[in-house]
Symmetry: C2
Subunit: 512 residues, 2 copies
C-alpha cells in the first residue's frame, strides 16, 4: 500500500489499527463527533494525599492508557516517579501517551519496556537511548508518533482514551485548581497538559506547592481533578531550556537564521500585524533575534507570536514589537516566568494551538512559520524524526501543524558533518512537501516551485542566492558524497500520523 506521497505502508499494520493512508493537507469541513469520558463525582474534600503509591494502586490497572506532559522537558521528575511505582506494583501492558518523551525519561522507559510494563507508546517523539532501543525493535507494537495538534485531535475524538493522567504542576490548591506559571517549579504554559486534564477519566496532579483555596488563575480546574498528590520536588525548571530548545551560538546556524530573517522581511507577509512561529532547533529559534532589527527599522509589529515561547519572543513583546504571545509551551525559564506578569502572554491548549479537527486553530491563522529539519527531500517532504542512521532521534512536535502557515520556511544546514540534509528521498516523511514553501541553508535558498509568488518576491534581493532544491541536493552530495541506503527489517517500529490521523509514513526496524 502506498500513500499519496509514495510512502509504502504495511498493509497488515494499517488494517490491524484501522488506519487510512495520508491523502491531502486540505482537510475540508467534515463534521466529527467529540469523545466523552468518565467522571467520578466528588465534592472535592478528599483529594489531597502524599501517598502516590495508593493513588496508583487504586487507579492504574493492567492494560490501561496513562499519560504525562513534557512541559518540564529535561527537568521532568513525574514520569520516573510514577513509572517506578507502577513497575514495583507489577502492573503490566500499559499504553503510555505522554505529550512527548524527553531524555529525562529514557532510562525508566527502557526498563519499563523490558519488564513488560509498557507495551504501547504514543508520543510526539523520543531521543537518545530510548530512540535507539525502539528503532531496534524493542516493542512488539509500533510507536504511534503524533504532532502536538494531532495528539489534541486524537484525545478529542477518542482515538487516544486516557484512563489516568499524571500531571506535575508547580502549584495547586486542595481541590486541584492549578497553573504552570507560579511557584519554584514554574514552567509556564500547561498547554499540552490541558488536553489530558479535560479528557482523562482520572486526573492526578503532583505538586510541591499546595496553596490556599481558591487558587487562580486556574489553567487546570478543580472540576477536572481527582487527586492532588504532594511531592518533595515536582521538577527542575532550570532544565527546561536545554536539549532541542537551547540557544545556538554556532556560526552556521546564525548565518541560516539571518538568511531566514531576510526571506521573511522580503516577502509580502512581512507587514504590520503579521504573525509568526519559530519551532525548536537552534537556527529556527535564533531567527527571532534577527527579525527584531527589521521590525524596528521598518516599524512593523507582529500581531502574535505562536508556539514554544522563548525569551527573545518575550523581549519583543515587552518592547511592543509583538502584540500577543500565544503560548502552548515555554522553551526556557525566562519565558515560563514571564507568563504570570504579562496578560498578553496567553496560555493556549494544544487544541487551540494546532488541532486540525476543530473549528480553527492558531496555526491556521499563521503568516510565517520557521521550522527545522533533519532531512528535506527534493519534493520538500521533511523528516524531523529519524536520523541519517535510521534511528529515532527527534519529535514531530508542532512541525506538521505550523507548516500550514502562509509562508513556511525550513532552515537546515546543507550538511551536518558528513551527512547531507537535502536528499532524494527522506528516510521518514513527517511533513508533506506541499506544506513547505522555502528552504534556507547557509549555502543557498530554494523556493518550492508551487510558490511562484514567493520566488518573485525573493528574486534580485541582495544576499539571497536562489537555487532549485535539486541544485542544493547536488551541492550537498558534492560535499559529502552519496548517502548510503539504510538497511531495515520488515518490522514496523513506528507509525507516523499526519495531523488528521492518516498515516504519512512508517518507521522500520533498523538492521545494524
Amino acid at each position: 500500500m502506498e500513500n499519496k506521497l509514495g510512502r509504502t505502508l504495511p498493509e497488515d499494520v494499517m488494517t490491524k489499527y484501522g488506519y487510512k493512508p495520508f491523502e491531502t493537507t486540505d482537510l475540508g469541513n467534515p463534521t466529527v463527533e467529540r469523545t466523552s469520558h468518565k467522571v467520578r463525582i466528588s465534592t472535592g474534600q478528599d483529594k489531597v494525599t502524599a501517598d502516590l503509591e495508593k493513588v496508583v494502586k487504586e487507579n492504574v490497572k493492567d492494560g490501561m492508557t496513562i499519560s504525562f506532559h513534557h512541559h518540564f522537558r529535561n527537568g521532568d521528575f513525574t514520569f520516573n516517579k510514577v513509572m517506578k511505582i507502577i513497575m514495583d506494583l507489577g502492573i503490566k501492558d500499559l499504553t503510555i501517551a505522554p505529550s512527548s518523551l524527553t531524555g529525562a525519561m529514557n532510562d525508566v522507559a527502557i526498563e519499563a519496556i523490558k519488564m513488560g510494563t509498557i507495551t504501547n507508546i504514543t508520543t510526539s517523539g523520543m531521543r537518545g537511548e530510548l530512540g535507539d532501543f525502539i528503532s531496534h525493535g524493542a516493542l512488539e507494537n509500533p510507536v504511534v508518533f503524533r504532532s502536538h495538534g494531532g495528539r489534541a485531535r486524537a484525545i478529542e475524538d477518542g482515538e487516544v482514551k486516557i484512563d489516568v493522567a499524571f500531571l506535575g504542576v508547580p502549584n495547586s490548591d486542595s481541590c486541584g485548581n492549578a497553573n504552570g506559571m507560579i511557584g519554584e517549579s514554574a514552567f509556564g504554559s500547561l498547554g499540552y497538559a490541558l488536553m489530558d486534564a479535560n479528557y482523562a477519566n482520572k486526573v492526578v496532579l503532583l505538586t510541591d506547592n499546595l496553596v490556599d483555596y481558591p487558587n487562580t488563575p486556574a489553567s487546570i480546574k478543580q472540576t477536572q481533578v481527582d487527586y492532588v498528590v504532594e511531592v518533595d520536588q515536582v521538577g527542575d525548571p532550570d532544565k527546561i531550556g536545554s536539549g532541542a530548545t537551547r540557544f545556538t551560538t554556532d556560526p552556521k546556524n546564525l548565518k541560516i537564521a539571518s538568511l531566514v530573517s531576510d526571506v521573511i522581511t522580503n516577502s509580502s507577509y512581512f507587514k504590520e500585524g503579521f504573525s509568526f512561529q519559530t519551532g525548536s532547533g537552534g537556527a529556527a529559534l535564533a531567527v527571532t533575534r534577527y527579525l527584531k532589527n527589521a521590525m524596528l527599522s521598518q516599524n512593523i509589529h507582529a500581531s502574535f507570536g505562536l508556539g514554544g515561547i522563548t525569551k527573545p519572543m518575550v523581549d519583543l513583546m515587552n518592547e511592543g514589537l509583538i502584540g500577543k504571545l500565544m503560548d502552548v509551551q515555554d522553551f526556557d525559564k525566562a519565558a515560563a516566568n514571564s507568563m504570570k506578569e504579562n496578560i498578553n502572554q496567553q496560555e493556549i491548549d494544544a487544541s487551540w494551538y494546532a488541532d486540525a479537527a476543530n473549528k480553527g486553530a492558531m496555526v491556521d491563522q499563521l503568516d510565517v512559520s520557521i521550522l527545522s529539519a533533519l532531512e528535506i527531500d527534493t519534493n520538500y517532504n521533511v523528516n524531523v524524526l529519524t536520523g541519517s542512521d535510521g534511528i529515532i532521534r527527534g519529535a514531530v512536535g508542532g512541525h506538521q501543524d505550523a507548516a500550514t502557515a502562509k509562508l513556511t520556511i525550513i532552515c537546515a544546514p546543507l550538511v551536518r558533518g558528513r551527512i547531507p540534509s537535502i536528499v532524494k528521498s527522506a528516510d521518514t516523511v513527517i511533513t508533506p512537501g506541499n506544506s513547505i514553501d522555502v528552504l534556507v541553508t547557509e549555502r543557498g535558498i530554494a523556493v518550492n516551485p508551487n510558490r511562484k509568488d514567493i520566488l518573485e518576491q525573493l528574486e534580485n534581493v541582495p544576499g539571497i542566492n536562489l537555487y532549485t532544491i535539486d541544485e542544493l541536493a547536488e551541492k550537498a552530495e558534492q560535499l559529502v558524497g552519496k548517502e548510503e541506503e539504510l538497511q531495515h527489517t520488515d518490522k514496523t517500529v513506528g507509525l507516523v500520523e499526519y495531523r488528521d490521523g492518516s498515516i504519512i509514513d512508517t518507521i522500520k526496524e533498523i538492521k545494524d
Copy 2:
C-alpha cells in the same frame, strides 16, 4: 408517587420523561459519563457574517434545541433578535434552553409559544407575563426548571443537548475568541454561556464589537465557535442591575440584612479565610454592606466571595477584605466592568460554580450562603419559584446549589403585604429544608433543629431573637391570617429538578 419531601409527583409525567423522584441532598461518589457533541471542522476563515438570517436558516431546524444566556438580564437583545427570525422562517417545535429567561424576553417568548415555534422550555426561571402564561397551561409539555448548577450538569451529561447556541458577546475576533468583560456592552463573566460554548453542536456569537485577532483573554475560544455575527447593538448593559439584582432601600430588607450579618459574625464560620455567597434579592444582596463593618472591626478577611458578583463585593475585594471573587455572573455594571482590571475577580463557568455531578464545585467549598425565599415552610423547605398566587414569578438560580454551604441563611420578611413568607407547606419546593440552617426575618430568627451547634452559637447574642419556625409561622398568621389554599388543575406545567436531576417538585396549572 411521592418523593422524600412528601411532594406528590405525577406518575405519567415522571414515566414519560424518565425522571426519578428526589431522594437526598447527599449525592455520593458515583461515576458518570460525560456527553459528547458534534464539531464541524473549519480553519476559521469563514466565520464572520452580518447575515443572521442566513445563519439561522442553515442551522436551525424544526424540533431542535437552541440556547441563549441571560448575562445581559433585562438588557438582552439576542433572544428577541434570533427568535423573531426563527418565527419569520416558520420554524416549529423548538426546545429553548436558555440559562434563564428575563423580562426582556417575555413578549417574544409568548408570541413564539402561541405560534408553535417554542413547544418546550427548560430554564432557571421566568417572571411577569410569561410566568403567568405558562402557569395557566400555555404549553402542552411542562417547563423544566433547573438550578444554574443543574443546567451545567444536564448539559454535561447530555440530558440537555443543544443543537445551536446563540450567544451575545461584547467583543469577538473573526475566529470567535471572545470575552464578556471588554467593550461598550460588557457584562462581565460569561459563566453560564461557557457551558453552551463548550457543548453545543453549533455556536453562534453575536457581537457589536469585532476586534483584532487574536482576542484575549478568550473566555470563549475560537475552537468552539462556528459563526461570528455582527449586529448593531448586542445588548444594553445599563439594564443588568435591574430586576432581581437591584439594591434595596427598603427598611425591612435592611433590617433583615443587618440581622443576617449578626448571625454570620456570631457563628463559628466567621473567621479568617471564610467564604460567602449572596444570592439575588434585596435583603440578601444588602448583607455584604453590613458584613464589611464586622470584617473591619474584627480584622477578618474572606478567602473568596462567590456567585452573582455585585459592586459591594468588588469594593470589599479592592479594600483587601475579600481575597478573590469567583464570578459566574455579574449583577451590576460596576461588577461587570471591574473584571477586566482585577486579576482576582476570576471568571468561573457554571460547572465550576455549582455542578453537583463533577469533581467538586465552588459551592461545595462555601462557608456561608445568604439566600432569599418567596416562601419557607415549617420544615425549612424553600420556594423561590411560585408566588402565593401559584404563578411562576422567580428562578431556581443558584439557590439549591449554594444551599450546600456550611451555613445557609434564608432571609425573608415575615410577611409581604397580606402574604405570609412562612407557611405550613410551600406551594413549590425548590430547595430541601435539610440544606437550610437559619431563617432570618425582621421579626425574629429561627434555626433548623438539626443545627444545634448554630443554635448554641446564637443563643444569648444581643439583638438576635430566636424562635422556632413554627412560632414565626404563627406570628405571620397572626398578622395576615391563614393563607387560602390554591386551586390547581391536574395539568403539570412545570417540573422542578433538584441539582442532581431528580424531581423535587412539580407545578400545576393554576385554576383562576
